[in-house]
Amino acid sequence: MTNKKPSLDILDTDVLVVGGGGAGMMAALAIAQQGCRVTLVDKGIPSKGCATLMAKQMAAAGPWSYPQDSPEKHMQDTLASGCYINNRALVQVFVTQAASTIEELERMGMLFEREASGKGFFPGGQPAGHSYPRSLTYKETSGKMVIDALRRQAMRRGIQMVPDVLTIRLLVEENQIRGAVCWNITRGEIEVIQSKAIVLATGGCGQLYPMTSNPDQSTGDGYILGFEAGAELTDMEMFQFYPVSMVYPKFLRGLNINFPGKLLNARMERFMEKVDPVNLEHVTRDKLSQAIYREIKKGLHTAHGGVYLEASNFDPELYRKRFPTEYRYCLEAGIDLKKDRVEVAPAAHFMMGGIKVGPDCRTNIRGLFAAGEVTGGLHGANRLANNALMEIFVFGKIAGTHAGAFAREEKEKVPPRGLVEDAKREIQFLFRPKKDAIRGFALKGILRELMWDKVGVIKNMPMLEEGIERFQEMRESLLPRLGVDVSHKKYNHDIVEALEARAMVKLGLLMAQSATMRKESRGAHALEGYPQQDDQQYLKNVVARRKANGDGEFMLVPVPGAS
């Protein structure tokens, strides 16, 4: 082997932020505030490919709250919803800093709806699980409005935001971050980024399921990036489904419905009367998703595999004003909410589990930080509605602040050549012609059915074991068959699909394995045969770590801070 000069460009920065959603943008701004160079990469267009755009409201206890409300109450609600396996330290930081983060967002350009008097913010929302209304919003587009304001702020600060860059491997040497290897989608080339710290803000993994509210980009890349770099993951069995999502028509599958209504099975029975006669449909997402799923599994489902949602107190003016998008989409699909019912079913929505972080967003890898949905622990076993949109800004800022402070003290170090070559080989393998090549999107299709079937809304041990076997099989026999059309490297969608599919198989396996560790039902983890919550044995988190051979190793760790 000759000593050739590397033909790759190495992009050099202080902190690399992976992911251009709310957490990533907030982190990038905080890093810049620390006086560091920051580069934000996104595999789509920053601020345009994120789940943040869909989010409608954010919960925070602040001066606008009811007098009886408080951050302490918000914490209690969050813990109750999370069935008490939340990371207390994270929740504490979260509820304490929520209000000040809201005010900071306004200073950066966001406008929250005010009360009629115009003086204070209007806490309009009180979804199930919140003791008081404490959710702030701007009409139905808060997530978009905030991230647009953040992006403008990032533009003002001259922060480098690079679109169409897919991060495939983190470079770690001696438990220390050195940078990352990326696939530049526009140029069709490998790119190496050298950085002293990395903030992972890659969002969730709803795309692992056949029906999801998440954008195309939510394939869970970050969990595997962290896992393969040696970071610990927690609560990988805790996945939230949004109970009332459209099933039909096809092009609207996964769209979350927000207006209230009655749920009816195929026999037109209001099944929630039996499940929870007091609260009926106004229960937390885990309970509602499981109830709907049970009806579907019993065979009492609609023509397209869901249950019926009948709009309560339908008033066209009200709906046009408060739920304009849903109302309009229903009309276009020929659904007249005055007399028709919408077919709904649980759609993959949010991953409570993820990369284990402390209240400063540090992971167990030096220089690796994480924020937002890619992290685990804040939400425990079930996320409270409207906490996610708040989480990303609180922790995005914290991650950025600490990552920046960290980078300031660190010395530059070139990433190890060996690791870069490894990542290159992975990509080149995809380009090699293969017999019976399988394309990324096809692999994803198989994987999604598997996830819904074996690692779905309600699980059981035999199905999980089967799922694990199938995932391992896929890993052994299907992943090596991943192939792409190499006639174009530039903006080649097949390459992206294949790289995503690789990570998704590994992630699905981890999620299934993690689920077998928790022999009880708690929150979003509903395990047949173990209907009760067992605090004696399971007031713990399932923590996963990578073994030398690449497999996951799972431990039950007592919840930090729980008595």
Binding site: I45, K48, G49, F112, R152, R156, K250, F441, K490, Y491
Partner: protein, 520 residues
């Protein structure tokens, strides 16, 4: 909707680094169970061509990145139904450079919005700035501009941006600027994009508003809003600055160079048997420049039993003042005209100038019930004909081959494009041909602002008309008629531009009588 049908799809393919020139790949695709264009693209990518490059993310019209051109119109692929046309042509967004196939480079927009962001700020990073008091009325304009998802469909629809992308800011940028400007907490510093990038080049065609997937009135809310700013007003060309004065003096946009139509015709024209009554509002152009068309129209109405009122005190509708941000001056003009209309005692108005019609319908009436004018029925001539339902007998001549140009202020300003076509197709001695890009702006509004630009636009229009090989082009707007005639005069065929009344008169009508100025 599930339907067994095959779509014939043509997709633009291009790799600027690899290919010499773009080409179209054709696919015949069974699209049972497919509704949206994005689903079609996914199907083609999965089953037919894995090299197809296109963007998608939210699938629900919220992220704005999947925008493409479908059969010449800029749309969101995830929201647009696959058209039931013979061929479905999918192309990358217009007016932006192509990265590959259907993926475009948004760099220019990003650059310009970065500059815009840098010239605005809330406290510019100073901490401790308290939230401002906010009452909904302070933020009405903000709210109307807030839903933009930066899909760039408006930019792709803009005929001016197509011709002068480097100089012209474009609707997307102006929307952003107006949005930030409507936020009362924002501090501005430095030159704004609308000041540097020729806000005055907007031709008022409203293609941006018409195609916006979020139904933002980009022209009316953003462009007109920005034009109200003092800096823009100070930089108006003298001619436009002088509008209010000229109207005050003469009642018209132009100083008269012949006897106005309203002074030639009596104030009331009575048919033999009166079926109904209406006020005819000619507007400045027909009052002065195209009097023949006005006379023809009046004659047609009379022959159909309409008692036509032509109050001499009618003045310019004021539209051009509104479009140039001179809202205050407009209000006075509106009041004057409304008083004149109300005095007549007839609550029906007929117009044949697209700009006047749009202004009277959209900017004159107030929701208040006390306002008599809000009860008025206002019809474009083509709408009124639908109401009167005249029939014409063939003169057994050789059919006249005609085509139709959609005035911007009629099609997008008033939602009228079917009626003129129905009329043209119903006339027995007429063969109607559809014009290529029939609704693309002719540049009429830019004559006083940028001659080169308006000529470039009208030249494109003329080319399409000549290509159609017609005997005449019909249009229902005297500004368009003026602009297009000038462009067509340069061609040897000198195809005439007629308003519908003129065509009807030519084919079937008596000559309008020269009447005295004595009211009956």
């Amino acid at each position: 909707m599930s339907q067994m049908r095959a779509a014939h799809v043509k997709i633009y393919r291009f790799d600027p680094e690899g290919d010499r020139s773009p080409h179209y790949d054709e696919f015949r695709v069974e699209i049972q169970g497919i509704t949206k264009v994005l689903e079609l693209l996914n199907l083609i990518y999965e089953r037919f061509d894995s090299t197809l490059a296109y963007r998608s993310s939210c699938r629900a019209g919220k992220c704005g990145i999947c925008s493409v051109m479908v059969n010449g119109r800029a749309v969101l692929a995830c929201r647009e139904n696959v058209p039931e046309a013979e061929v479905v042509v999918i192309e990358p967004l217009s007016n932006y450079p192509v990265v590959r196939d259907l993926v475009v480079d948004r760099g220019t927009y990003d650059q310009r919005t970065t500059e815009l962001a840098s010239a605005t700020g809330i406290g510019n990073g100073r901490s401790g700035l308290p939230p401002q008091e906010w009452s909904p009325s302070n933020f009405e304009s903000y709210d109307r501009l807030a839903n933009c998802i930066e899909c760039l469909v408006c930019d792709a629809s803009c005929p001016v941006l197509a011709l002068s992308g480097e100089d012209y800011g474009g609707p997307a940028l102006f929307r952003q600027e107006a949005f930030l400007g409507s936020d009362q907490r924002i501090l501005r510093s430095g030159l704004s994009p609308s000041e540097r990038l020729h806000l005055e080049y907007c031709s008022t065609c409203k293609a941006c508003s018409a195609n916006c997937p979020k139904e933002i009135e980009v022209f009316d809310e953003a462009v007109r809003g920005l034009r109200r700013r003092k800096t823009f007003q100070d930089s108006l060309p003298e001619l436009q600055k002088g509008y209010a004065q000229v109207i005050e003096k003469t009642g018209s946009l132009f100083t008269p160079y012949k006897i106005p139509l309203l002074e030639q015709l009596p104030e009331v024209i009575e048919p033999e048997f009166v079926k109904e009554e209406a006020i005819f509002f000619p507007g400045c152009m027909m009052n002065m420049r195209f009097q023949g068309a006005g006379k023809a129209l009046v004659q047609i109405l009379k022959s159909l039993g309409v008692k036509v009122h032509l109050p001499r005190e009618m003045i310019c509708c004021g539209g051009p003042l509104l479009w140039t941000g001179q809202d205050e001056a407009f209000k006075e003009i509106r009041s004057k005209n409304i008083r004149v209309f109300e005095k007549v005692g007839v609550q029906r108005l007929v117009v044949a100038c697209a700009g006047c019609g749009m202004t009277l319908k959209k900017d004159y009436g107030k929701p208040s019930a006390r306002d008599v004018f809000s009860q008025f029925l206002i019809d474009d001539f083509t709408e009124y004909l639908e109401h009167l339902k005249p029939t014409y007998e063939s003169r057994k001549e050789k059919k006249r081959r005609v085509t139709y140009h959609d005035p911007c202020h009629l099609k997008r300003g008033q939602g009228i494009w079917d009626e003129p076509r129905r009329w043209l197709k119903a006339l027995p001695d007429v063969e109607f041909i559809e014009l290529r890009d029939s609704d693309r702006c002719c540049g009429g509004m830019l004559g006083t602002v940028n001659r080169d630009l308006s000529n470039a636009l009208s030249k494109k229009k003329a080319e399409a008309i000549i290509e159609a090989n017609v005997d005449a082009v019909i249009t229902e707007c005297p500004f368009c008629k003026d602009m297009i005639s000038k462009a067509l005069k340069k061609d040897e065929k000198r195809i005439p531009v007629l308003m519908i009344a003129e065509l009807i008169e030519e084919l079937y009508g008596d000559k309008p009588e020269a009447t005295s100025s004595v009211t009956s």
